[in-house]
């Protein structure tokens, strides 16, 4: 269970990106977060693993208070929370397998990392993760030589190395074409269904949310505008979330 209580984020320049968000997300849910650009989706996701420090409020995951965790505790929490990014955030010059293995660093003795030593089991675990996202044959290529969809699958494999129980995905398909978007979303769905990983995924297209999510959360100007199953979003709700002039576009 992930509980978000009165979460508020005010950036250093005084901009209030989130105001008083309250959410309860049970284990195993696939949650889509939608909202206009600038509505605070990334801010919300980043507050959960504290890439951004919240200004007020608490985030409690499985009884652990993330907001008050010390650095050491935070690292232990983070290694159970996977995250994938719109820009994939791979080290482009490193090989695919190195990128995947770097997802395991939280479990590896830092002294080993100093000499770039990775235990053999982790190497095999990385190959298995690549196998799972279907690009094992690319393991020894440079990450920069892969296509966008393949890079995002490397990103998923890297997150898989953490044995995550919660996966945060910040617009994972926003820079991919529709067909590739669906294939990447399918992998997320698989993780949700097979491994029971809770998924919080921000999306630009409502159609993707309808296709994959159990629950949709809509943000507007940093406030919670809607929280419910995707079927409940009718035209009126849609205009509430995206503004009066918006028209829903389908992505197939």
């Amino acid at each position: 269970m992930l509980i978000i209580e009165n979460l508020t984020k005010i950036y250093e320049n005084g901009f209030k990106a989130l105001s008083n968000i309250n959410l309860e997300i049970p284990e195993g849910q696939f949650v889509a977060i939608i909202g206009l650009s600038g509505s605070g989706k990334s801010t919300l996701l980043r507050c959960i693993n504290r890439l951004i420090d919240p200004t007020e409020g608490r985030i409690i995951w499985r009884g652990l208070d993330i907001t008050s965790a010390t650095d050491d505790e935070l690292r232990q929490i983070r290694r159970r929370i996977g995250m994938i990014f719109q820009q994939f955030n791979l080290v482009k010059r490193s090989s695919v397998i190195t990128n995947v293995m770097s997802g395991r660093l939280g479990y590896i003795n830092p002294l080993f990392s100093l000499v770039n030593y990775v235990p053999r089991v982790e190497h095999e675990r990385a190959l298995a993760a690549l196998e799972r996202v279907g690009i094992a044959e690319k393991a020894y290529q440079r990450a920069s030589s892969l296509s966008g969809g393949q890079q995002q699958r490397v990103g998923i494999a890297r997150a898989l190395m953490q044995n995550p129980e919660l996966m945060l995905a910040d617009e994972p398909v926003a820079s991919l074409d529709p067909a590739t978007s669906h294939s990447v979303m399918k992998y997320l769905e698989l993780l949700n269904k097979e491994d029971g990983i809770t998924i919080l995924c921000s999306l630009h297209f409502l159609s993707l949310a309808r296709a994959y999510a159990d629950r949709v959360i809509a943000l507007k100007d940093g406030r919670l505008e809607f929280d419910g199953p995707p079927e409940q979003i009718d035209n009126e709700r849609f205009r509430q979330i995206y503004g009066e002039d918006a028209v829903e576009v389908e992505i197939h």
């Binding site: 490193s94 830092p110 990392s113």
Partner: protein, 696 residues
Amino acid sequence: MLNRLTSRGARRRLLMVVAAAAVLIIFAYGWSVTDINLNRPQEPLRQQNVGNALRELLSPNIFQQDYTIINATTPILMDCPADGSAPAPAEPTGGDEPHIVVIPACAHSGEIVTVQGYNFYPDSLARINWIATDGERRIRQVVGTSNDNFVTNTDGTFTVEIEVPRIRGTSGQTHTVEAQGRFPAGLPRFSDTTGLVLEKMIETIFLALIATSLSILPSAILSFFAAHNLMRPVRMSLGSLLVGFALLPVGWLLGTEVLGRIGTLAVNLGKGAGFNLGAVGALSSLFLFAAVTSSRAQASNISLNSDHLREIASKLLLAVVVVATIGLLGGLGILFGGLFTEGLLRYLSNFIGSLGQLVELAILPIAGITGAFAVSSAGMSLALNGLKKLHGAPAHLLGGVLGAICGAILMGMVASIGMQAAWLGLLPPVAAASLASGILPALYRRFVPQPARPTAAGRSIQTALSWVGIIAALVGTAAVLNVDRAVIAGTLPSTRSSVSLPGLTLYPYITQAMLIGAVLGGLSAALAGTKATFPLGEILYNTTRTILNALRSIEPLIMGLVFVIWVGIGPFAGVLALTLHSIASLGKLYSEQIENIDSGPIEALQSTGANRLQTIMYAVVPQIIPPYIAFTMYRWDINVRMSTIIGFVGGGGVGFLLQQQINLLRYRDAGVAVLAIAIVVSVLDYASASIRERVM
């Protein structure tokens, strides 16, 4: 409207004219300050001197050859007979032998005769001698020159005019005209100068190479601290920081006492061959044990009340292992240093031996630093839980106590630097000012009711208050520590009436500074409380940047002067000077490369639970390797240039030779050095550019 526009245009034009006039005056002043004098270059003597110097510089004395002198003679009758029965001028004999002909075959004193030579060595030196009946040789300079020698023609002939000498009482006798020609013997070879220059050039290249490679590691480490994007997010709770800082001296003492002993023991073990295997075994098992304990702590599930005692034990154990390993390696190095005295291995043996000696010399400081960090980090994790539970007044009280201790330590350290030289005495007031800067704004926030949203007015009041505090602390500390005396008269603080404690001596100057530090540090930390976050990264970043910039602004030649005083004339001084300057300059260049990297991977690795070190190793290092190689090459290139002139201040290399040659006015020898420098610099310039292009 139009009026205003034109008037504005007019004003701008006027302003431009004034500015142009000002620029002209400044330029004219510069012209006279730099002593530009158009007459001097036109003085004939100067022109002749510079011509000669340039001619010699451009005729480098690269080659050298042996010569034999071959003489050719022909008779000449002094005073032609009055009856006109002058002997017929000799005809060229033909054949391959060098020979000469004098025309006419008789002459009287003071007359000009022509000497023709055949079969001499082309473009080579020759001279004409007059041999009278007494057998004495008299050099005859060619008419119109002031040189004893002249140069033969390209076909090996020459035609020169000489004046018949006046020699009393020789009339009617037959004298001899002799031509001496220089003929090369054997093949040309490189001159001794060339050999010397080559030897010094090799020294120069290695000087640059060693200085560059020595600077890589320190500047790479410093570059991380000088990269804003890495350092900005580094924040710490003030409580932890103060605990850690207060424990540094304790750790240093423990380190030098306990770890130092272990380290010295390890060095000695390494030096004595007998114990080695056992010691290596013991140390490596210790190392393994430490690695295993810390990795087990890592691999366990999320447990927020993690086992602190084990963590602390593993940290202390690690410190022991580190010091013992370094000591043992150092000892083994010394052992190896004595192994080979001949052959190529002698260089290796000597090198590793010196590294070992370095470790032996530095083992106490190494132990002290390791101990300081181990104890302070152990203390921080021990205090973590306690500090977390502390709220309200106790947090401020504890902050005050810890702040006073830390302020005293900090000011004590700064003061012991400050008493070394008059201008270093400015450091304690600056440090005091930075300690004081937060006090008045914090008081203001505490005792004046604050609006919910910070207002611009409130912020400017706080800035003003901060400056008041800074200036007050600056002036107050300067007055207490008598900084004015130091700066004006150059007198250093008195070192009499000192208090001796184990490990340190306290002079009044230092105790006063510590007292100031305790008050200011205590006040600041009490107001902030242990819960406040401290921008540690920002402070480290600014300090590193300041030091790097200051170092970079000192020219390597000046550093060279100082190092020559320290280690004597020679390449070692040059290596030290160039290393120091390279560290500063590469540190800056490297850190700019870190600031340019893609921050996405850093964020991604942070989100996986990797710690800071791991994030740097896996997200930063792969991105910076190519630019680091490129900038290192670039720096090597610069260092070669600099090492060619560092010899001018005694720093070794070809520059020292060049300076001697110039001082001795041996421009042809200097020409060889100049040529060698030009070749090496341009080759390296090209090489470094092409390597840089390939990696970028």
